[in-house]
Subunit: 316 residues, 2 copies
Amino acid sequence: MAVQSSAVQPSPTAGRHPDFAAQLQHWQARIERELSARLPATDIQPKRLHEAIRYSVLGGGKRVRPALVYATGAALGIPESILDGAACAVELIHAYSLVHDDLPAMDNDDLRRGRPTCHKQFDEATAILVGDSLQCLAFELLTDGPGLPADPGMRLKLVRLLALASGTDGMAGGQALDLAAIGRKLSLAEVEEMHVRKTGALIHACVMMGAACAPQLSENITRALDEYARAIGLAFQIQDDLLDVEGDVAVIGKATGADRALDKPTYPSVAGVEPSRQRMHELHTQALSALARLDAAGLQSAPLAAMSDWLVLRKY
Amino acid sequence: MAVQSSAVQPSPTAGRHPDFAAQLQHWQARIERELSARLPATDIQPKRLHEAIRYSVLGGGKRVRPALVYATGAALGIPESILDGAACAVELIHAYSLVHDDLPAMDNDDLRRGRPTCHKQFDEATAILVGDSLQCLAFELLTDGPGLPADPGMRLKLVRLLALASGTDGMAGGQALDLAAIGRKLSLAEVEEMHVRKTGALIHACVMMGAACAPQLSENITRALDEYARAIGLAFQIQDDLLDVEGDVAVIGKATGADRALDKPTYPSVAGVEPSRQRMHELHTQALSALARLDAAGLQSAPLAAMSDWLVLRKY
């Protein structure tokens, strides 16, 4: 199941970007290797914690966020060898958020990527510590070690971008809004605000962290990447909501209809399914239009365009 | 209660360092103000999370860790105005660890500093998010804003020191060893290892982060500070264990005998009360002896000596 849910879905983007499936598979294999090398070994103490950390991080997943870091690097001509640290760090933040979100006091999920969630496989205390440790490791990996820009100022910027995206203005704040929304009726603007923080902020950070590994970038290109990243961040979460309504549990690897079961407001529950799909495609178009400015500057927008295609057309 | 438990205890150190009580009070007032200025306001969303964050951080406490950052700065002649960021960051990591440790799945404590713990006052999900947000904010505060060294490389080093002290090699790993020890019989070496990680690593980081704000430091002084910091880190936790056996709930602000109730091995439960006290004083002597090298180099060891006196002689 885990392998199945982490497999590449080549078809949707094959038309415009024939090599994208292979490219994505390369990034997914690369991040798996890079993550594994950076996680604590299970033969040193505390072994059970290290085992739970590896279980939670290496259990498959689409690796959307690292792929976005690499795709941004590919667009800007940055070698993968200085993007690995940022790619690992964003995935560790994402992994920690899943482990904590799954806890009984939060979303109380038993299944993740077709396997028992961390607190089901181990225990709640361990799951809390896994999340805490992963967050910390994410920041540590940006300070030193392989896969980073040489300049300390650039590394510091990576830390800052990731911290801002993960905190109360970003992911953690979005999760708080999400919990507060259970059983309430939200306006569409409120749902968007929740999505932008809960998911959009970290997706946005992946692109901006990839960009921060470039020695210098014009204001124009930075703004284009910022617009692209904002658009796909929200589009990604709308597609997640749509898949929760319509998806197939065997493909997604977790229970569908979970948001409805928890009485959580989602984009489709507030706007309706068809308008949600329209909004998602509108955001996709916005993202692609922002990328046109990269091509005009002689950069390669194709990897980022393919990422956007993939994110809105994916089926899991 | 909270005010009482955060008050300075001037008597033990008054003999050797007559001004220390006033100095400590100054640092405690300073960190309270600096923390308050850096925490998210309760009139912006998500308000309940922000309220819980401020409740958890600003609820008193001895502020041992920020005081150690400032004391190290005082020893090395570093202005307080570039130590504030580090002092806030270590306290936020400490505050997050308390909120998560108090959770039902961890130590299940209802009382902290004489007030309901975060999850009792708010709810479990909020307490999880408070801890997650505080960890993140700690790292963010080291990247930019007031109260930091100007050099990005020095800021990056602060992030690294804090991350290493907080993760699986440090605090989170120590907490995992602590949980794994419940109901088990540990050797004294295992108890020390647990204490060194759970408490010692962050105490150690306070001193090394203070030192990292100095433009340059000789190898000799860095080593002396490292020895001092290791010694007081373990001494501090042994005193904590002793207070848990012998302390007065009204002074400490939380239940005493908690370790025994949870069947947790502590220094006194493994070594006995008197040998624990002896070990603590031995560590205190080691710490003071390491400081002698600061005086020999024309630096001011007095603030750090007074901190060590305070930490081993405190009654809460």
